[in-house]
Symmetry: C2
Subunit: 417 residues, 2 copies
């Protein structure tokens, strides 16, 4: 099955929003074993939308639409497709009831245009919308399948994942779907990881091996087509074992979680606590850890020591270390070590991580942009400090420094430190 | 001029990356007064790429490509377009020299395939690449203009903003371009802001008024077409004055900066310092402030008091306030006030902001998800606390709480507190 994704909305063409829906759907379709050959974006204009449908019908046998199912006259996707395939439109009673109930419970007057959201193309299967009002449509006409999904991601995603995927699987029949394992790595760059796996990547046929890199993390997706999970596991096993053998010291998870989630999981299992002392990352590391629900159990808190004053007063870094000719300065291995040790002692945690460096845009203390020290203090253990020379812009340097600190902690927690 | 954006790359079709380039280019083209009617994504496949070119030529007079200018055999955009328009390809000597120099300085062996990045379609204008190797191409054939830009955003953006835009302006001649002012608001939601401006939005013709909302911030873009900045200023003035009059207490900037940048700017002007005490935002607020270059001058540091222990020890919150039956607890106005006051006193800063609340996913201290208190302590001033009931997911609640805290500080700094 060859698919084309058609996102409908003038706000996309004006650059007001990013087309994240296309990515989400592309990934989801790939997982179902459906190839996406084109993505198209077209505005809220019936003529141009119908032209886009015509072009897509000529080069795909599945058209997945997102956007244009709302209540306003700008929302044209359903009408345009119905006209294109020569079918009428009828009211989907359960959706209409839901809309009326919503208005009743809110106590507002029913606005007639909301009726549009309950409309279904003749013969189409309704797709449930658990997070909004507009009902989705799925239909096949003349051998071409159409999936109509809402535009707002919070409605589109669950509808695609639930009723949309189920309908697509029915169309595909018992054919093989894509099964994959996402292997996540830290402490290693994309090119170095590729070097370690280069022969596997070159010779890959089935399973396939696809490296990814984003937001300071590196991943490899290992995929195969199989009719069920057991068959998939058998086909994937050999490749997974070989990759594990070569990358043991960097492989922190075999599901798509960030390193902060892996670290919080291990701290929780080991019932150990963490504190953070941040200078150049300025709270970003703490922000990453606390994105993880349940982090409050293991993360006690931290100090952002952006000024030397706070480094001295709150973390016990001595003035001699920070100031005066010949002193190592705030951006130094010595300061990173004392920050971590001071933080750990002050809050009596099992671990403390520290980060100090220059994230740019200009030199500080005559130290180059990208020079960062990360420290790890451990109760009853030896304090470790790593020196990094990172490239990229301010945000990139901060993010990579934070991820590197989490990797140091992961090494200790997994007994590889 | 009607444009189509064609992003080339199989990684987009697999959903491995989001097509942020399309948004960036759409916005940039709109600012030049160029309408974008379609965005297309096609894989690294010459045949399908040439088909896409053919379709785009039939419905646009400017085709802007991104991706496919790199060194590998997968990078096909230049070759496909040259073949389509029947032109040869030649070496762009200055780019070739730059590539050779880069290899010489790195000390690595020159890889022949890199020569591809210095190739230019016959008669094309080269577009300088300050952040990478591949040279851009700009040319007009049979009344249709083509702009070829690299795929990596850090190369594409500066090339489009510099040589790309300049070349497009030449093609457009002295015609009117879009001039706009971005007005940024805090402390107000999108729908409330729309209510304040609804008659202006309904009756808008020239200038146009477009509301935006993203990442906890609300904006309005006021735009008009004009041949120069003076004419634009005259045409925009009346609308800007009226919007300012209605929104004074929320309007924090008339350029596209986040509230944290406005706050750092005002603190710097007023030579005042800030510290932060965060609970549920967990360092995110501090992370936002320190994204701003130069924030180190006014931001002394902060404490992430994720545990009650840290609240007591580092911020001087009393056990009676936090624990025991009938105590207000960590999520309370009282605790928010003491956190801010304790932080300010400990670091002797002019201001301290505090945030404590429940960002979810489940209730804490029997307090509902989304209940957040933000506090502001000021040297010699009265401590203020605001109670918020925020909706959304964990990240959304944290972000909106952080932005609200910054708004409180902005109010004080601008004399509206």
């Amino acid at each position: 099955m060859r698919a084309e994704i058609i996102a409908v909305g003038t706000e996309l063409l004006l650059g007001q929003i990013v087309n994240t829906n296309a990515q989400y759907l592309s990934r989801g379709l790939a997982e179902l074993g459906i190839d996406v050959y084109y993505q198209t974006v077209v505005g809220d204009n019936k003529e141009r939308l119908m032209q886009a449908i015509g072009i897509a019908r000529g080069r795909a046998d599945l058209l997945v639409f997102t956007g244009g199912l709302g209540p306003t006259l700008d929302d044209l996707t359903r009408d345009a497709l119905a006209e294109y395939v020569g079918r009428g439109i009828g009211l989907h009673e359960p959706t209409m009831e839901k809309i009326m109930n919503m208005f009743a419970s809110r106590g507002g007057a029913f606005v007639e245009s909301n009726r549009r959201q309950a409309m279904l193309i003749e013969g189409a299967t309704p797709l449930r919308n658990d997070t909004g009002l507009a009902v989705g449509n799925a239909l096949t006409v003349d051998g071409i399948s159409y999936l109509l999904l809402p535009g707002p991601p919070r409605e589109m995603k669950p509808m695609f994942d639930n009723d949309g995927s189920a309908w697509l699987k029915e169309q595909l029949g018992p054919s093989a779907a894509l099964h994959s394992v996402m292997m996540k790595f830290a402490g290693i760059g994309e090119s170095m990881l590729e070097d370690l796996l280069i022969d596997l990547i070159r010779e890959q046929q089935d399973p396939t091996i696809a490296p990814y890199a984003k937001e300071g993390e590196v991943a490899v997706r290992v995929s195969t087509k199989a009719t069920d999970a057991d068959e998939a596991a058998r086909k994937l096993e050999g490749t997974l074992v070989e990759i594990r053998r070569r990358t043991r010291e960097y492989l922190y998870a075999e599901d798509d979680v960030p390193i902060e989630a892996a670290v919080v999981r291990m701290l929780t299992q080991q019932q150990r606590t963490l504190t953070l002392a941040e200078s150049c990352t300025g709270g970003m590391l703490s922000g990453l850890v606390t994105t993880i629900p349940g982090s409050a159990v293991v993360y006690k808190g931290g100090i952002v020591s952006y000024s030397n004053e706070v480094k001295m007063k709150q973390l016990g870094v001595s003035r001699e270390l920070l100031e005066g000719p010949g002193a190592p300065g705030a951006i130094s291995a010595e300061t990173a070590a004392v920050m971590a040790e001071g933080m750990r002692a002050a809050a009596d945690s099992d671990f403390a991580l520290s980060v100090t460096g220059n994230a740019g845009p200009s030199a500080a203390e005559d130290k180059p942009v990208g020079l960062v020290y990360v420290g790890l203090a451990e109760r009853g253990g030896v304090t470790r400090v790593e020196k990094l020379q990172l490239s990229g812009d301010r945000e990139g340097i901060r993010l990579r420094a934070a991820k590197r600190a989490l990797y140091m902690l992961w090494q200790s927690l997994s007994g590889q430190g």
